[in-house]
């Protein structure tokens, strides 16, 4: 792939870039089978995780990925930092650049912040989720998980279910899957699923339409608690209307469909307990593949921090 400093969105990547990162993900995953689960590729490099929004799995996944590439990892915890004392993002970045970081992994509630940071520093910036905009590393691990399960993404049908409108996961994952030749559909509460005319993506509002569409993968989004009990989400009804209930799980099992979820899972809301143990539930595969995909992303980016400047 061409030299690339940052990863902000899937749209910014060429088809070749996407394929290269996915191919290297396989090689990274193979490292997990060694007795030493580590390679020296980023030895001496510094990786900073800068999360302005709470996250457990994305942050720890990036940290494990960086450790397995032998990088040094620094965690910047916003709640205990000067940011709460009013420091601007730019000033924070200046401070961090003085620490000679090579890679900065950013999550922020506002769309566009990672791109701003990327423009202002020589370190490679990876967007680990910005507002409802993008979450490219999630897209790579999802595409890789589907490719691993089915051999190829092209020709597969994936329905993404939940609050599509506010989901950066839906946006990035549907983008990469369509770039790789998959068919994607959306399903969820009417006001939270964009119209097909705006996205080019079929829009469903109930499970019968989903089953008629004959998907291969059911991709559930996390119901965000902060949006619960608003007019969009009557909590008690969500599971019955849009969740994988035990009854729907039996149909999913009969049709041999896979279930995916970016985590963390709300049991009893998006998904029933039994579905977590379902033979084609790929959620744990996604977690493992997340580390490999993030290793591949870190490996393929080239920071402009050589010569100590």
């Amino acid at each position: 792939m061409n030299p690339r400093k940052d990863l902000i969105t899937i749209d910014s990547l060429s088809d070749e870039d996407i394929r290269t990162i996915l191919d290297s993900t396989s090689a990274m995953k193979e490292i997990f089978t060694k007795s030493v689960k580590k390679v020296p590729a980023l030895k001496g490099k510094s990786v900073l995780t800068l999360f302005y929004e709470p996250s457990t799995r994305t942050r720890s996944s990036f940290e494990v990925a960086a450790h397995r590439l032998s990088a040094d990892v620094t965690t910047f915890t916003v709640s205990t930092s000067s940011v709460v004392k009013g420091e601007s993002v730019h000033d924070t970045i200046d401070t961090l650049m003085s620490m000679k970081m090579d890679y900065i992994i950013v999550r922020h509630k506002n769309s566009g912040i990672p791109a701003v940071i990327a423009r202002h520093c020589k370190a490679s910036v990876i967007n680990a989720g910005d507002g409802a905009h993008a979450h490219p590393s999630q897209a790579f691990l999802d595409a890789f998980t589907i490719r691993e399960k089915y051999g190829d993404v092209a020709g597969k049908r994936v329905v993404i279910i939940g609050d599509i409108l506010h989901s950066r996961v839906a946006r990035s994952t549907s983008t990469i899957l369509r770039r790789l030749g998959a068919d994607v559909a959306y399903m969820g509460p009417g006001p939270l699923v964009p119209q097909e005319q705006h996205t080019g993506i079929p829009r469903f509002t109930d499970w019968e339409q989903v089953f008629r569409w004959k998907p291969d993968v059911i991709y559930l989004l996390r119901v965000q608690n902060e949006r619960m009990d608003t007019p969009f989400f009557p909590r008690g009804d969500y599971h019955q209307a849009f969740g994988v209930t035990e009854e729907r799980l039996r149909r999913i099992d009969d049709l041999n469909l896979s279930i995916m979820h970016p985590g963390p899972v709300n049991r009893g809301v998006e998904i029933c307990d039994a579905a977590m143990d379902y033979r084609n539930c790929l959620i744990n595969n996604q977690v493992e593949n997340g580390i490999a995909a993030r290793m591949s992303i870190l490996y393929h980016l080239t920071p402009q921090t050589q010569n100590n400047d």
Binding site: M1, N2, P3, T20, D23, S24, S26, A27, M28, E30, I31, K34, S35, V36, K38, V39, P40, A41, G44, K45, L69, S296, Y299, H300, T302, Q306
Partner: protein
């Protein structure tokens, strides 16, 4: 441009197999594995394993990608594509023959040894190559080289193999 052709390479591979059978196998402690360095070394390793099998000796086969262990990764603008290593056995207490196409600076062999020891502790490791073109930058020497070339400094010695390149020769 001097060239070693396909027939000469084939002949050299037969001589190489003889060396393996007469010297490497008798000295081996534990089981013997032929481990190719991806990509060209890997093709050679597979051919050697087939030829050994034809001669009645079953060696294990593996392949390793040393890219992530290169000492010049951070100096390169473009990160090379990766291949998956394939080592379906633990190298513990085995004799491993690392197969490289062209042995030059010794840096590839250094990286390969680092890879191997992260899988386990072989009892013995040998480096064998098709071409030794000299100009070592590290204190590493192949145990066997099918061809030894004295090409002028900075000459590019290139092996092409039918399986990868569609033609087969060595040019320098």
């Amino acid at each position: 441009m001097p060239t070693i052709n396909k027939a000469e390479i084939e002949q050299a591979l037969d001589a190489w197999v003889n060396h393996l059978l007469q010297h490497t196998v008798p000295q081996a402690t534990g089981k013997l594995a032929i481990v190719g360095l991806i990509t060209h070394g890997d093709v050679l390793a597979r051919r050697l394993v087939h030829k050994l099998a034809a001669a009645g000796y079953e060696a294990e086969y593996g392949a390793i990608d040393i890219t992530l262990y290169r000492d010049d990764l951070s100096l390169r603008g473009i990160r090379p594509a990766l291949s998956s290593s394939y080592l379906p056995f633990s190298p513990d207490d085995m004799t491993l023959v690392l197969v490289d196409d062209v042995c030059n600076t010794g840096r590839t062999a250094r990286a390969a040894m680092e890879v191997i020891f992260e899988y386990g502790r072989p009892s013995r490791v040998e480096l064998q190559c098709l071409v030794d073109r000299g100009e070592r930058q590290l204190p590493i020497q192949p145990n066997y080289a099918a061809f030894t070339l004295t090409a002028p400094q900075n000459t590019r010695v290139q092996l092409r193999l039918t399986d990868i390149d569609g033609e087969e020769n060595i040019t320098y």
